[in-house]
Each structure stands twice: as structure tokens, then as C-alpha cells.
């Protein structure tokens, strides 16, 4: 059976979610592997939320927000920009491929770019294969409760 990656995308309300919406209303096609979660700002996305998604079944996580300088909360995406590289180092320390997390800036008018980003990301995750930590705690506990 071929591997269908599941990708959780945290999209900022003002740019990327609207960008994804534009892709939809423009009838652009992209694979249905993305589960979108709308957040007010990409700066709201905590590394814990990303790790939570990865450990509970996602193969990869996309974080997307307004381009630098366009944040509707002025400084929100600056925080994201600092946090994501650190999060990647954290994933590396645990033995998870940091390529499973991607930060991309997509504006409200970039529906086509959103499609490109998603297609490219899915292709990369297909090459990487299933995320090794998904469901890890569940399996472990099932083994312990015997």
C-alpha cells in the first residue's frame, strides 16, 4: 500500500488561511493530505503544538503565516521566525528529521504559492516515509498494560 502522508498545517488567519481559501475558490487542485488548523497568528504556534501533532499522528507539520513585515500583529511572525529553527534543533536532538517541520510565508493573494508549497512538502514527506514517533506513547502503553 502506498504511503499517504498526513500533514497538519497551522495557518495564520490573515494571510495563509486566506491564501489557502483563495486556492480553493480559484479551483486550483492540491492533494487532500493537508489538515488545516486556523490560528490567529503564526506566532501563536507553540513548539509544543507542533510536537503534539507529530506525536499524535501527523507525518509532518506546516506552519505558515504572513510574510515578514506584513504581520497583522506587527511582531508575531518575528517570533515564529526565531522559534522554528530552535524547534528543529529540538527535533534533531530527539532523532526526528527536522525536515518534517516547515515554515513558509504565504500571503492572502498567493493561492498558487500555497498549492506549490503543499505539493512540494508532500513530495518531500513521501520520500522521508512515515513519521517514526507518531502513536509512540500509545504503542508503548499498550505494551506496558499487558
Amino acid at each position: 500500500m502506498s504511503f499517504e502522508p498526513k500533514i497538519v498545517a497551522f495557518l495564520c488567519n490573515w494571510c495563509s488561511y486566506t491564501g489557502a481559501d483563495l486556492a480553493g475558490t480559484s479551483r486550483m487542485h492540491y492533494p487532500p493530505n493537508v489538515v488545516s488548523i486556523r490560528v490567529n497568528c503564526s506566532g501563536r504556534v507553540s513548539p509544543l503544538m507542533v510536537m503534539s501533532a507529530l506525536s499524535k499522528g501527523a507525518d509532518a507539520v506546516l506552519i505558515s503565516g504572513c510574510h515578514i513585515g506584513d504581520c497583522h500583529y506587527v511582531t508575531g511572525n518575528w517570533q515564529t521566525e526565531k522559534r522554528v529553527p530552535l524547534l528543529k534543533k529540538g527535533l534533531e536532538a530527539l532523532g526526528v528529521d527536522p525536515r518534517r517541520v516547515r515554515l513558509e510565508w504565504v500571503s492572502a493573494s498567493e493561492g498558487a504559492r500555497f498549492v506549490e508549497v503543499v505539493q512540494d512538502f508532500i513530495a518531500e514527506i513521501e520520500r522521508l516515509g512515515p513519521n517514526p514517533i507518531k502513536g509512540a506513547s500509545h504503542d508503548r502503553r499498550a505494551a506496558c498494560s499487558l
Binding site: 503534539s52 515578514i68 529553527p85 528543529k88 529540538g90 536532538a93 530527539l94 526526528v96 506513547s137 508503548r140
Partner: protein, 271 residues
């Protein structure tokens, strides 16, 4: 050494330069932090191996220095610190958990054997009043081995070690820099209540991410762990990542603030 320290503290008290001294007291073999206000009390001041000076975890009133400062505005406190204690002190001040105003830092450098016992890389405060600065331990062999591991080996390594966790919260409680009123390690969203071992790797991931820009490298988390989980490997890796990405080292000059405490854009690179 300890006699010299006691004499120095007594002098400070007698000269009226400080109102009290904050340090560790020997209580029949156990060590607890306390305030010393008289010369007689100072005879029980000790510098005890791995005992930490700051306990800030909930309930919030465990942060004794902040309590003292709140109750007696303008109080001058002499604080006896080793390298790790000073780093914790400076980070706590930057995070506004206590004030450095009126604080007289009494720095004590650890000797080589103490540094080795703690596997400490910087066993001295910035300006030690007592003791000589000695070279820290170069690198923990466990860390060197960890660095060489391939991703799948790391994953197996953490599956083994974090799977031993009994969720006692000892690492968090012992940590001098853990003070959130609402701890994310207790949040049902991230950590399933009543389940053992705790969610892999979220439970430990919370602590390692939160400590990345403030860890004093005191090793209290690892010492507190009853299951011998090598938690310092995670803390050190994250601390090094912060230094490599942003040039920030916890416990540095009070004017130098963490990139994450600063809302400006900073030196970040696209991730």
C-alpha cells in the same frame, strides 16, 4: 575555604553592607536555603556539593529571595553563589522573578573535584570573592557519544530512557528556572493524565523547550531523576542551539537578554 566564607559574610553583616545573607544551612546533614542575620547563625553556613540554592517551582512562595524583597522593600541581601547558582540568579532576575537591586553577590569558585562531581563546564561565578577559577570539565563522554548518534539511534535511545519515566515531576520541581504558575507539563492537551510512561516525547519536550534559553546547567534535573534519565543531554543540546542560532548564553550579563524575551526581530534565520 568555608571558614573564610563565613568570616567574609560576618564582615559584610557587621559592616552593615547587607541586612542578611542568603545561603545554604546545614540541618543535621540535610541542606536547606535560608537567610542568615547573625554571626552565630553564619557558623552553620555551608557550601554543599550538589545542593541548589534556588527553588522556584510552585507554590510560588518557594522563591525565598523574591518573598523577602516583597516583604521588606529596600532590603540588601548578600547571596552566596557558585557558578551554577549565579547563572540561575541572573536568569531569574532577567525573567523578573527577583530583583538584583540591593543584592550583593558573594561568588565562590568551585575546585576541580567539585567541578568533576557535577560535570560542570563553568564551575565559577563571574567574579569570585573566594576560591580560584579552575578550568571546567571539557565534555561529558555521554554527550560526545550522543552527538555521534544517527537519528534512528537517538530515537531508540530516547525511547529507552524516556520510557523509564515515572512522571514524578522531580526534574521540574528541582529546576531553579521552572516557575510557571500553570505548568504545560500538567496540561491535559499535551500530557495525558494518569498515563505512564508519559506521552513520548511531549512530557520531556516541554521542559527542554522552556529551558532552552535559560538553563543554568546546574544538573539539578538529572540529579533529581530517580530513573537516571540523562536529561542534561537534552538541556545541553538546546542551550548550544540557542547559542549557535542567536549568540545567547544563559547566565550571561544581565543586560544581555534572551532572544525569546525580546519581541524585536533579532538575528533569526529563516527556518
Amino acid at each position: 575555604m568555608i571558614e573564610e566564607l563565613r568570616a567574609h559574610c560576618k564582615e559584610l553583616l557587621a559592616a552593615g553592607r547587607v541586612d542578611c545573607i542568603y545561603g545554604l544551612e546545614d540541618c543535621d546533614g540535610a541542606c536547606v536555603p535560608r537567610f542568615f542575620t547573625t554571626a552565630a547563625e553564619l557558623d552553620r553556613l555551608v557550601l554543599a556539593g550538589k545542593q541548589r540554592l534556588f527553588f522556584t517551582c510552585r507554590p510560588a512562595d518557594r522563591n525565598l529571595v523574591a518573598l523577602q524583597q516583597a516583604q521588606r522593600p529596600g532590603v540588601r541581601i548578600g547571596i552566596v553563589v557558585r557558578g551554577c547558582d549565579e547563572r540561575a540568579l541572573l536568569e531569574l532576575a532577567k525573567l523578573r522573578q527577583l530583583s538584583l537591586e540591593g543584592v550583593e553577590v558573594i561568588g565562590v569558585a568551585c575546585n576541580r573535584s567539585q567541578a568533576e562531581a557535577c560535570r560542570c563546564a563553568r564551575p565559577y561565578p563571574r567574579e569570585p570573592v573566594l576560591g580560584e577559577k579552575v578550568e571546567g570539565v571539557a565534555e561529558d563522554p555521554a554527550l560526545t557519544r550522543f552527538r555521534r548518534m544517527r537519528p534512528e539511534e537517538r530515537l531508540a535511545f530516547w525511547h529507552h530512557h524516556l520510557g523509564k519515566c515515572i512522571k514524578c515531576y522531580g526534574c521540574r520541581n528541582a529546576c531553579p528556572l521552572c516557575f510557571c504558575r500553570e505548568c504545560q507539563m500538567e496540561r491535559e492537551l499535551f500530557v495525558t493524565p494518569g498515563a505512564l510512561p508519559p506521552d513520548f516525547p511531549l512530557f520531556h519536550f516541554v521542559h527542554m523547550m522552556h529551558l532552552a534559553d535559560r538553563c543554568a546547567d546546574c544538573g539539578a534535573c538529572e540529579d533529581a531523576c530517580p530513573m537516571d534519565i540523562p536529561l542534561r543531554l537534552l538541556k545541553t543540546t538546546m542551550r548550544e542551539a540557542v547559542e549557535a542560532l542567536f549568540g545567547y548564553r544563559p547566565g550571561s550579563d544581565p543586560a544581555h537578554r534572551s532572544p525569546f524575551a525580546d519581541i524585536s526581530r533579532g538575528e533569526a534565520t529563516h527556518g
